[in-house]
Amino acid sequence: MRQARLRQSAGLFMVLMLLSLAFLGGDAQAQTREAKVDRLVIGLINPFRDYFRAWISGTPDHNIQHDPILEWLIEIDPDTGQYVPWLAKSWEMTPDGRLWRVKLQEGVNYHQDYGEFTAKDVVHNHALWCEANYPGRADPPSSAYRTGICTVERVEVINDYEVLMHCKEPCLDFEFYYSEAANVMMFSKAQWDKEGEMGYERKPAGTGPYEFKERKLGQSVLYERAPTPHWKHGVVDWKELMMTWTIEESTRYAQLLAGETHLTEVNKDLVDQLVSRGYKLVRSRGTAQQIQIVFGGLYFGTEDPQTGRYTEHGGITGKLDPSEPWTKKKVRQAMNKAINREELLEVLYKNRADYMYVHGYYPDLPGWDPTWEQRFPEMYGYDPQAAQRLLREAGYPNGFKAKAWLFPFAGAPELIPLVEAVQIQLLDVGIELRLEEADLVSTIAPIWRARKAHGYLAAVPPSKKAVEAQIAVFNAGKAGIHQFETDEIYRMWEELKQLADPTERDVLLRKIGNYKFENFEIIPLFNVFIEVVVDPNIVDDWAFPGWDGGDIGHTWRITACKQEEPCR
């Protein structure tokens, strides 16, 4: 009897063991350790600039081609959006804000046996962007953010792994200008010396997890996994990575469905269609762009009393036309309160965006004021009756007529329907908008630049950048838009540039932000994310912050789906 029970127990044990092994074996079979394809193909819209020398007319939008192979001093963490070490191991500012001590990562080697990354490479790259007559460089540098980048006027070498970056004035945004959000990537000095400038175009040597393999101009760029594990990211999932350029959206859509690409960018309607077919939506971890409507003609700066002339670099323009209704603050508030943001968010942005409050300000950057969110509904919230009351108080009881530009903007396809929707919403409070189709480059930009945009509204999607850079570009007359200029904002911006204490700077930035917020400088709408669609059989995830170069980056963070089932 006991023996029979023992036999029964032993038999049961054996069965359980076999079942467990079968289960574990099955599970092990379901796990494939390698990516299912050797080559990951990313279907992108266009190359923006189809060359590598980013100091020539480069902008961060240009960075995507550099991203797999080259590296920056400072990385933007995809999850937190904060600056984290990359080729710079650490960095420290002196109390006067005019000097940064930067310690470099040791043991990082360039591809193609171009030796170790050291201080000489930092000096070389700074010179490429900032030195007027750098030997061997054919074209003068003209990249975006060059003014900020070249606030660092000299790079002093302490040793191979340490440099001092001397600034002309306090340069508290050093991290931004030398991070991947700007475009000073670290090319190899040794390659420059050996091959000259064009060596960077033929086969640029970087320090990234991929090596450059081949470029077909205007068609694609191919990279291959570096032969040795990357010093920071180890071994990437794909043997090869290819970027293809396809302007036509329906073709990008078809390429993904046909399995020719594994990841692509399409508009929100097509994203929804792809998701309904089993594809996976991946979006940037943080905000990439702000969607806002700019009032043309807010040139409140006074004419330069000394010279009697308008200056291009100050907020002193003398070009205000006070007969424009929205030069009155109450009108700007009324127009803000006439906008039903909830409706726009649902219909146009499929509820996949956040509300924005102040142009150029983000919760993870200095100057943010958490009270804006609470104050927003009362000051800006949808209330047509209040909007009409404000218009009456401003002297426009029957509303007024104005104009708005319609123009296509690559990467922001919702802008045109957005302006059309705003036209209808404003009509409800008596503001009659006439829409004018215009070309951004040939028509609108020159008008903006000349400060002649009186009477025009325009929807624009500025990319995320450091807060001071936003103010410089949009409010202080340094560049083309002249969104909202006053002597006060210009004075605060000048003061800001002299501040070395981060806490004081944070306070002043907040003050400027509040000034913009309380003056209704724009119609703020949404913080939007970059969306891509991936084939879940091939790609598991892609963590990218949304404000690294070109809004997309961190290609080495595209991970493979290594299980039999799709990675939902």
């Binding site: 007319s57 990249s143 060059r146 064009m198 036509e248 073709t251 046909a258 480059v441």
Partner: protein
Amino acid sequence: MQRYIIIRLLQSLLALWVMSLIVFGLARVTGDPIDALLPIEATLEERETIRRNWGLDKPLHTQYLVFLSKAVRGDFGNSWKWQGHTAMGLVLARLPATLELAGVAIAISIVLALPLGVLAAVKKDTLFDSVGKMVALLGQSLPAFWLGIILMWIFAVMLGWLPTSGRGGISRLILPAVSLGWFQVAVIMRLVRSAMLDVLDSEFVKLTRVKGLSEWKVIWKHCLRNAAIVPLTYFAINAGVLMTGSVVIENVFVWPGTGRLALEAIQARDFQVVQAIVIIFATVFLFANLIVDILYAYLDPRIRYQ
């Protein structure tokens, strides 16, 4: 005949010069290339530096003379968008792809349209003629880009028989060539049909039949040769249409030809490349016309004496 060719050549050169004026002027009225190429953050100083560097600060007539003097030597300057490449080099590198696509589209249109047109005329008012007219109607009314997308959807996405886009191998050529050539099939077929109908009614055809020539010889040798003048003239226009029509098709199918290059260059206000493309397109167009004029004179001797 020699005088006729010389006059045609001189007319072509004059047309080319006028074209150079037009393209130079139009390129400059579409906007400042600095706006397209420099970021909005660029300062006035940076804008002026680039303007000087590219010679855009000089008066327009000086810019034109510099452009013309270099263009006659085949030098259209360096591309602004594709730094490190000459405009001419870019166009020449892309031209074979466009010629390949246009060539296959023309071949498809001739192979299909000639026999269809002839048969539709010979079998006038039959079911075959009605089907032919329907094909012609569809061919002329379907926009090439729409047809391209539909073909891509059916053959690449649904059936998986052909790749969606790109260049390399016959399989990638089929869909763009059919999309590009389909319109031509319709046009040429209609032209051949109507020309054949005229010829079939003529006295000399009746004579050839009375003389006992076979129907095959009457139609395919005597009638077709006489009817060919009209579609032949169309070929000259066709060459231009196929080159410029390729702008749309090349973009839909990501075909790396001059059409796609043209669109990207226009978007970037890359004057140098736009000018090179237009002048080369114009040259091809004029050359094709010249060849057709000569052939026309050969086929119809009355023309050369006019």
